[in-house]
Structures are given as C-alpha cells and as structure tokens.
C-alpha cells in the first residue's frame, strides 16, 4: 500500500513534482505513465527514501518514507532506471550479495524469483556487465526481489529492452502481483499502460489523471478519427484548418484527428478533405488509446497553463 500526499520536490527554481497525491492499494499493479522529465524518477526516489521531498508526506505500508526510512527499505524492492548492479561480479555473485546484505539467502526466497532467475541461470557464471539488456533487467528484478519485499518499485524497467523481453517482463510482473506484491512501475511506453490495474498520467511534475486504463480510454471526451492517406503530411496540414479541430497527430502510418464531440461525422471530414483536393482517403471513427488520452490531457494542460 502506497499513500502519497501533496508531495512536492524542488531543485533550486525547478519544480520537479507539484503536489502529487496517489493512493495505491495492496497487491495492485500501478503504472506511472509520462514522458522523460515528467517527474517519475523523482517520485520513485522519494518513495525509496533516496530523495527528501520539499513538502508533503508519503507512506509505504503505513511507514513514513522520511521518518521510518530504514524499515521502508526492508519491505521494498527497488530497480533504478539505470542498471546498477556490479558489472564485474557474476550473475550469481550479484544475487548472493544482495541476498546476504538483506540478511537472507537465495534458497530461502528462491520460489519468488524462480520463474525469472531460471531464464538467466545458464549464465550464472557470466559477469553482469556482459549480459544483454533483457537479461540485465531480469537479474536486476531478481536482485530487487530476493529479500521478499512487500512493495516493488520499478523505474522504467523495460526501457531499452527488446519487444519479446518486454512482454515476458510484464508477464512476470503479473505473476508477482498475484503473489500479493504491490507494484509501482513507471514507463514512457503508452502501450504498456493497458497492462496495469490502474495508471496515473504524469506531465511536468503534475498528475493529470488517475484511473483504470479502460475507464480512461472509454471516457475520452471528444471524437477521435483515424485517417489513412498516402500523403500523410499534406493531409495533416489541411486537417489543421478543419472547424472544431482539437488536434491532429500522426499515429503510426495514419493520422489521429480529434474534434469536439458531435461536431463531425466521417462523411463531413471526408467532404472537407475532398473539397481541399485530397482523394483516396479513408476516415474511420476510432476508440481512444492511452496515448490519445495523454495527448489530449497534455494539450488541455498546456492551454490552461
């Protein structure tokens, strides 16, 4: 269980976190979604008692992260964004070292890391610095889990990891969640957001929205259209002139157009484009993804700012 109340962090004049409040339930897989520099790492480091907040309070399983930091460290596992195990120690030596400093053994909690560790066990005599990105992350997760933490905090664990390893990694997180471990994970990848129980969208140190991914996607307040065109750049330039426009962004091979709710139909958009000399264009109504939600919220946030 993680309770964050009005956490504020300032580095000189720069405000990294502005009155952030969150409440994460026991056994929940909670995602912190936001671009680089949004404040994800600062928040996690405050929770891990590596950084002192400028204001506000935070508690992990009812232990204050400032006052009871020693106890907090015993019940949490942390995986920093940067690989931070000893590159000159072997896989096994790293795991053994972290088990020992937490006063436990690999054998005692082997059941927790078994699924993950088995995949890297064939390389256990290899130095950690020589592992591939995906294997490094698996080792780091094993080391973060070896003392059987109640809460797991993972800072961008899948950044720089290949697609297959990413998928495997999220499956592991699901299994850990099912064992009752509370997990807070941050990611810049919007597609990973749907794998979480609940997510918080964070931008410039402020939380813009907290909900389940489904609610967030379903409650998209405007109309969203996917537009396929051969000359995507031209089309987007023209669409910038359409009435009741909110935004137009490229989305893979197509464009995502957001217009004020109820102002357009696919026909009216098609008509507008034909009128401006664009042909061979398909317009379809689309369900919003987390990315669409994020972009819309960001735009509104910027307009009010």
């Amino acid at each position: 269980m993680i309770e964050v109340q009005n956490i504020r962090k300032q580095y000189g004049d720069v405000v990294a976190l502005e009155n952030v409040s969150l409440s994460i339930q026991r056994g929940e897989l909670f995602g912190l979604i936001g671009p680089d520099g949004a404040g994800k790492t600062s928040l996690m480091r405050i929770l891990m008692s590596l950084l002192l907040p400028t204001g506000g309070t935070a508690a992990m399983n009812n232990l204050d992260v400032v006052k009871d930091y020693k106890k907090v460290r015993l019940i949490t596992g942390y995986m920093p964004g940067r690989f931070s195990l000893y590159p000159d120690l072997t896989v096994e030596e790293n795991l053994k070292f972290f088990a020992t400093v937490f006063g436990t053994t690999i054998e005692e909690n082997y059941y927790l890391i078994k699924d993950i560790y088995q995949q890297i066990e064939p390389f256990k005599t290899r130095r950690a610095g020589q592992l591939s990105g995906g294997m490094k992350q698996k080792l780091a997760l094993s080391c973060a889990l070896i003392h059987k933490p109640e809460i797991l905090i993972l800072d961008e664990p899948t950044t720089g990891v290949d697609a297959v390893s990413r998928k495997e990694f999220w499956e592991m997180l699901k299994r850990l969640k099912n064992m009752g471990i509370t997990i807070l994970v941050s990611t810049p990848y919007m597609d990973e957001a749907t794998l979480c129980d609940r997510i918080a969208l964070i931008q410039e140190g402020k939380i813009m929205s907290i909900a389940t991914p489904e609610t967030m996607m379903h409650s998209f307040p405007e109309d969203l259209w996917t537009i396929s065109s051969r000359k995507i750049y031209n089309t987007s330039k023209i669409l910038e002139l359409i009435p009741s426009l909110i935004s137009v962004n490229s989305f893979g091979q197509a464009l995502h157009l957001v217009t004020t709710k109820g102002q357009h139909t696919s026909k009216s958009i098609q008509g507008f484009l034909t009128q401006h000399g664009e042909h061979d264009i398909t317009v379809e109504s689309e369900k919003a993804t987390i990315e669409d939600v994020f972009i819309l919220l960001m735009q509104k946030h910027n307009q009010t700012a």
Partner: protein, 371 residues
Amino acid sequence: MRTLFYILQKEFTQIFRNKSMLPIIFVMPLVQMLILVFAATNELKQVDLALVDYDHSASSRNLIHEISGNPFFKVVTGLNNSQEAEDLLMRNKVNLALVIPKEFDKELTTLKRTEVQVLVDAINGNAAQLSLAYLSNVIGAYSQKVLIKPIKPEFRQAKTIEIKSTYWFNPELNYKFYMAPGILVVLITVVGMLLGGMNLVREKELGTIEQINVTPIKKWQFIAGKLLPFLIIGLFDLAFGLLLAKLAFNIPLRGSLLLLFSLAAVYLILVLSWGLFISTISDTQQQATFVSFFSLIVFILMSGLFTPVESMPQWAQNLDFINPLFYFVKIMRSVLLKGSNFIDIVNEFAALSAFAISMFSLAIFRYRKTS
C-alpha cells in the same frame, strides 16, 4: 558482522578482478623504490669548472694544481680571458668558473691578501651552493697552506679549531638511506588515496551506489568495506617496499617493525579517509583524481621529503602542522634510521591519530544515503 564479511568479500573479488590492480600493487613499489630512490638525490658527483689564469705565476699554478687534483672538479683549462669562461657558462658547458687575476702571486706574497673571482651557474640553487662550498673549501685549504707556511708550527694549533664531525644515524651520509623511507611514505599515500578514493566514486559512476543505498547496509559497514581492503594492500605494499629497500640499498631497520606497521596503519586510515572524503564530494573518477592529485603534490612537496622543512619560511613550517605526510616522513626516518621507540615519536603519533579520527568522521559524515 556477517554483512561486513560479505561486503569485504565482494570488495576483494572486485579488486582482484580489476586487471590494472595487480600491476599497481606490485609494479608501483618496484618503480618507486628502484628508480625514484636513485633519482631523488641531492648529491653532486662531479661539476665542470672553467679556469682562467691571468697571472701565470707559481702561486696560481699551485692553486690550479690543488683544484685539478680534486676528483670533484672536472677542469676546463686553456681559456684566454674571462669572457670565454662566461660563454661556457652560458652554453651550459660548465657549472662554475674561477678567474685568477693578474696580481695574484704578487699580492699574495706582499700584501698577504688577494682575491679570486668565482662565477656560479645558479639555475639549480642547490647544486650551485654545494659546488661553491666545495670550491671555497679547496681554495680555503690552499690559503691556509700558503699563509701559515712562514709562521712557526707551534702557532698553528692556537690559530685554528679543527672540526672532527661524525654523522650520527647515517655515518656515510648515504642519500639513499634518507630517501628510501620517504619514498615509502609516498608509495603508501598514493595507494591509499588514489586506489581507496577511486573505489567509492566508481560506485557512484556505475550507479551501483543507488542499489546499495536502498539496502539495510549501515554507513560504517559500507565505509569499512571500502577502507579495510586498501588498508591491507597498503600495509602489504609497505612490507614489499621495505623488503626491496633492504635488498637493494641495505637500508638499516633499527626500530621496531611492529611499531612501524602500527603507525603505518593509523596513517593509512587517515589517508584512506581523506581519499574517501574526496570521493564523497566528487561525482566522477576524473574529478576525484584531480582533487587527490592536487592535494598530494602540495603535501608531498611540503613534507620535508625532498627539501628540509627547517629551510622553509616560518609560515610554511606552520602549515606543515596540518600536513600528515610531514609527520609520517619524520616517523619513518626516525624509526628506521634512528631506531626511535614509541615515546620518541609520541607527538607525531598523537597528531596523526587526531587527524585520522577527524578525517574518518568527516568522511562518514559527508557520505549520506539520502540527498
């Protein structure tokens, strides 16, 4: 205790896995002892002297004979005027020039006093002073001879006080005996500061300190884990260096080795804490190296290792009050050459201990788990 044991085990594994570490531990003492001790000498074996004789008399020839007979001088003769001697000085061909004036013989016999001119190349002040002193001695001895000659031998006793000197603790004034203990101090200082200090910054650079900081490892355990391995390596290097000094130069080991190593341990704790302190205030190994290097140079040059502290200006001598190397160079020389016991060096020991304790506390205080 179990945690500390595993931290130490981890540190040693990492140290010996580091490919550059073993060469540093073994090659550095070899190079420092076998090359630096020879190189860092103030002894002058021979100087080149240009002679200009304007007099060409019996007296001037006798004086030249005295000088040429001295193996310390390599004499260049056959110069016509002092201008030629000055040219040789300018072109670094000679270090000294002696000009005997025209009336040398005449003045010596009639006036009983005369003058000669000596020109010294003072680019290297030390060498200049030494060679001038040598030459003055030779000329002085010669003048004694010629002046005393006419007087009856009985008066001679009353006129001069002859100095019979004995150099204690280093009777032959062997420069290596004096340098070797000092170079050993430099050796363990470098081991302690650079290896020990670098180690903590490396954890910062790699980011591993983040992971360590979220473990229940206590401050003192972490610091001890960084300190003890290099304390052991430093003491090992001291033993290795002493062995080399004994074998290569047969330097005397008069004092108690147990005392020497105990004091070295105190000194190493001080140096290691100092290195650790530097690494707590640096973010990269490069920064830490620069700061360590800077403080090392200042402390080494002021320590009295190469130049006597007594010849420094008073304010510099006062500064040495806080120079740990100053104390330890003194301890090393006293214990090894003089055979000093603990009581003899208790002041130096007290100073080192005080520094060690305060530096260690400072390093622990500065190393914070949370920022």
